[in-house]
Amino acid sequence: MTETGEGEVVRALLKHPFFGGFEPAFVRAVSVQGTIRPFGVDDLLAKEGTEADVFYLVLEGKIALEIGSGDRPLLTVQTVGPGEVVGWSWLVPPHRWRFDARAVKPSRVVALDGEVLRRTLAAHPAWGFQFMVRFMPVLAERLENTRVQLMNIYDR
């Protein structure tokens, strides 16, 4: 893991589509304790059931989101790439990862501290609202895609 300066994190966030257009003051506030981390192939970014204290924004590479249970092999249900985000468990109690996240290509991500994010969003409702307006479409799109996957669209 590579620790990075706050300035580098802020610059990376301002270039990331998720944070594009946000007030720089908000971006600086959520960047506190944020880092840019590289991950090699098969490195885990998140492990199901463990504490979810990070919000990832993918800069490079590809991350697989995996679910599974003890009696069956892990199943990749989605991959996300540059410009996309990983993780909502930091926002939703009990703040435990609901899936594994594994790098399937060499990857670089911004890792934002979940506690800092929650505190910032709660203390600044206007920023919090803007954040949720940006965050909900991501969740909605993933829900929509999951529904399409459930339709098994490749079966005639």
Binding site: V41, K62, A64, L65, E66, P73, L74, L75, T76, V77, Q78, T79, G81, R102, V104, K105, N145, V148, Q149, M151, N152, I153, Y154, D155, R156
Partner: protein, 288 residues
Amino acid sequence: MIADPAPDPTSTAAAGHPLAPIPYVVRSVILETPDTTTLVIEPRATRRIPATRPGQFVMLYAFGVGESPIGVAGGNSHGQLIHTVRNAGKVTQALTRLTPGDAVGVRGPYGQGWPVAEARGKDVVIVAGGLGLPPLRQAIYELFQHREAYGRIEIIYGARTPKDLVYYDEIQTWRHRSDIRLQVTVDAAGRDWYGDVGVVTTRLPDARFEPEKTVAFVCGPEIMMKLTAQALVARGVKAESTWISMERNMKCAIGFCGHCQFGPSFICRDGPVIRYRDLEPLLGVREV
């Protein structure tokens, strides 16, 4: 229902009848997935069907069982044809069980194909879902053959799992081409898959093309084509420049029987490749 003429494959008595199949012989068989097989067939004698255009289909006749409409996946000037068949019923089960040397009947080719010539000078986006890749294969190779005549070429192929991908080895060779972009995605995968996972429409934002000068060819199950066409149009591709390949219950294949009627169109004659603009109001309507 059209009565099958049930010809003797060695007979020439039925020559010239529009519903009479021409005898071909299976040259080779490739098992693509547990239920899907690619047949390479050649004329048994000098008679052969006319040259096929990308996107057309033929009626393949499993002698003693019946015939089924199958898209043309390829062919050559010697009359060789390539068809990829999924075992989905009595006829296709018989076709997928053919072995080299077996006889098969062919009539056709039928229908309107992909507007490959019209796409010259433009960016081309090809989106295939599941067994929608075979009817696009011949068009893809025609684009490759005249690569300089087109702008960007984006190929997006989606399947349920990695085991459901057809033409796996060929796709690996496409990956090495620097003059096209290829994205392959599956709905779900195990840990041995390092590619993309997600429905085929999730790859469109990553595709590089200029929407206003793009022609799109989309082939797959109807729901997949509908969602893909909607996503392409939302991205700015014109509905009249988006083409989809419809599959209906083709029987006679020459516009007589009406089995394949879809709204005002007979898919066998007016399709299978049709502009999305013309079908958009009917897609998703139940019992059309």
